[in-house]
Symmetry: C2
Subunit: 243 residues, 2 copies
Amino acid sequence: MQYETKKRSIFKAISWRTWATATTAIIVFIFTGEFALAITIGFLEVFAKMALYFFHERLWQKITYGKKEVPSFVLWFTGLPASGKKALADAVYQELLKDKLKVERLDGLDVRPLFPETGFSPEEVNRHVKRSAHLCAMLEKNGVIVIASFVSPYSESREFARQVTTNFVEVYMQTTVEACQQRDRKGHYAKALSGEYQNFPGIDVEYETPLNPEITIEVDNVTIEESTRQIISYLKGNYLNNK
Amino acid sequence: MQYETKKRSIFKAISWRTWATATTAIIVFIFTGEFALAITIGFLEVFAKMALYFFHERLWQKITYGKKEVPSFVLWFTGLPASGKKALADAVYQELLKDKLKVERLDGLDVRPLFPETGFSPEEVNRHVKRSAHLCAMLEKNGVIVIASFVSPYSESREFARQVTTNFVEVYMQTTVEACQQRDRKGHYAKALSGEYQNFPGIDVEYETPLNPEITIEVDNVTIEESTRQIISYLKGNYLNNK
């Protein structure tokens, strides 16, 4: 929760008084033509009202009317391995940080160490994704915006994430297995093809295409900057408009 | 993140103007003795300054100076089963909610369904507590106050929780196995003694007494209201003092 310090109220009082006393002195001068009177009244006003302004600010500290929380949401990137989820999610995260928003960034691989015994079978992946969805929901409920990137190849656990969260924004990285293989610098696809990795989405298990994602990124036709703008524009239109 | 609506700024402008124009009119009247002049100047000032005040407020919306976050912390209750952790943690939680603070309440049993395969062996309990500590740390990092109650009988995982969090407040529920047995309405101790439960702290595994808890509650000598006050007083002295 945010609060405002007494120093802030003092600075606001001084800043307000500078503007306001000038106005008073000018009005008095226009009406009376007396320069000395205008200055004297202005001078007295400075002290009386600066103190009053300070107490006015402190009083409004206790009034919650018109103080709003920026709505939080879960921005969930799903797509084949090496479809560019992580890089795009990181770019969007950096954009939101610029707006001084409270954002948490969760990547599938970073979350795994929290649940050390998790494997890669469809059941384990579903369980991992569901647990992570609970984590997202808890952060979202507490006013934190969550940027999550998980391969999350199975509809079941993605739908679960949609249900446990309040504002779920699914970003589908639309591309092909072939394009991902070409992009894949870490050699994951080669390992999956050689049999070193099992249950690899796009190779030996199906990546279940999202049916109604909020945002579809045509990975192979757009730059990361364009995709970032596309997502930020969606968010400003739906959640960050009131700020 | 919080923001203030335009309506709030308008209401503040009206509220401020009521006080401030009265002051101006009185000062003008005292100096000129002219009632009509005082009223005219006051009247003109109302419109000029109300608009100015509004823009002054909107400008200060963009200035972050003197806006502070209430520091968050993890209040961690540890103690034997049926030592009263949950009830006391709930009472403290309700107190903090009254102050409109952002608080998450985590109880050991509520968190378990998130990690369905977790058992009760010392290794599994340590793992469960450590995962929960990560969750607490993530919430704390994002400005959420966490009230956690876990039997957490082993020093190892409690120390881990202390390390991964920033402001860790350990509350030790000091009591005896005998007193807990008497308090235990759910019959857990009886089941542990009959062998139905294994690894039950205080019965067949040791509850490792915290060595340097921030707060010790003498469960058998104080009421829940007194304990709540003791904890709130500690928190006001250490984390919630600046508000």
